[in-house]
């Protein structure tokens, strides 16, 4: 059953999508809340694992919101796509933007923990940056549905 909210928005037992959303802090927070609701609705995750997933995707959203469009005059967009594979019991979440991560260097003690957090909180984390944007792919194995 497809449950669409609007163009570019999907949330059903196997998919959660938000396409072309504004890459800013408010949208990141709102998306995080919607994603959390989706997790609670369809998956059987304990509180620790739920936080792990939500925090990891939040860090990816926050990085896009903060760094992807620093040199632009207005925020760009980002895409979130979560897929659940019932055979592998694997949850895969991809967060991507079309910007350039300027300033995203861990050059002092107060910054730069987003990527280490993503790696620590997920079973697998891939961060690909190119001149056309950044793509973060996070995986969790042994995830079961309600």
């Amino acid at each position: 059953m497809i449950d669409s909210m609007s163009t570019g928005e999907v949330a059903n037992a196997e998919r959660f999508e938000r396409a072309g959303i504004t890459a800013d802090a408010g949208t990141a927070a709102r998306t995080r809340e919607e994603f959390t609701h989706w997790l609670h609705q369809f998956f059987d995750l304990d509180p620790v694992r739920t936080i792990d997933v939500v925090l990891a995707i939040n860090e990816a959203l926050a990085n896009s919101a903060e760094f992807a469009y620093l040199l632009a005059t207005r925020p760009g967009t980002m895409d979130v796509q979560a897929r659940y594979d019932t055979r592998d019991a694997r949850l895969t979440v991809t967060i991507s933007d079309n910007g350039l991560w300027r300033g995203a260097t861990a050059d002092n003690r107060t910054r730069g923990r987003g990527i280490p957090l993503m790696r620590a909180l997920s079973d697998r984390a891939m961060v690909e940056t190119s001149s056309s944007g950044t793509r973060v792919c996070l995986e969790w194995s042994d995830v079961h549905q309600v």
Partner: protein, 132 residues
Amino acid sequence: MLKYQREVGPDSGAVPTQAPNCVITERWVDRTAVVSASGDIDMLSAPALEESIRTALDKDPVALVVDFSAVEFLASAGMGVLVAVHDDAAPSVGFCVVADGPATSRPLQLVGIADIVQVYPTLDEALAALNA
């Protein structure tokens, strides 16, 4: 005993946080300032958290406790505030954090912040340690 309380939130007259999910309060236990937050600490609310902490530091406390007991979500933006403030406050002002559970103390440990800043599971333990 000095008692001072200021609320920073959507309904207060103080600086708006632009983050309705986070309420920050300041109170005092003798000369120790306790800055408490509730709700979500993310890139939206972290600047207000930092401002509240620095405001408290400007009042020359002997020590400052950041209490995350009522925090439900703590992002790296909030963790960075802790390190920045710790580096500015220490060693002249005692500084520690109260955090317990998967949303707060676990991420702090995972990225090694618990090695830089003292973290206690309850406010009572934090205050006892600062007064020891």
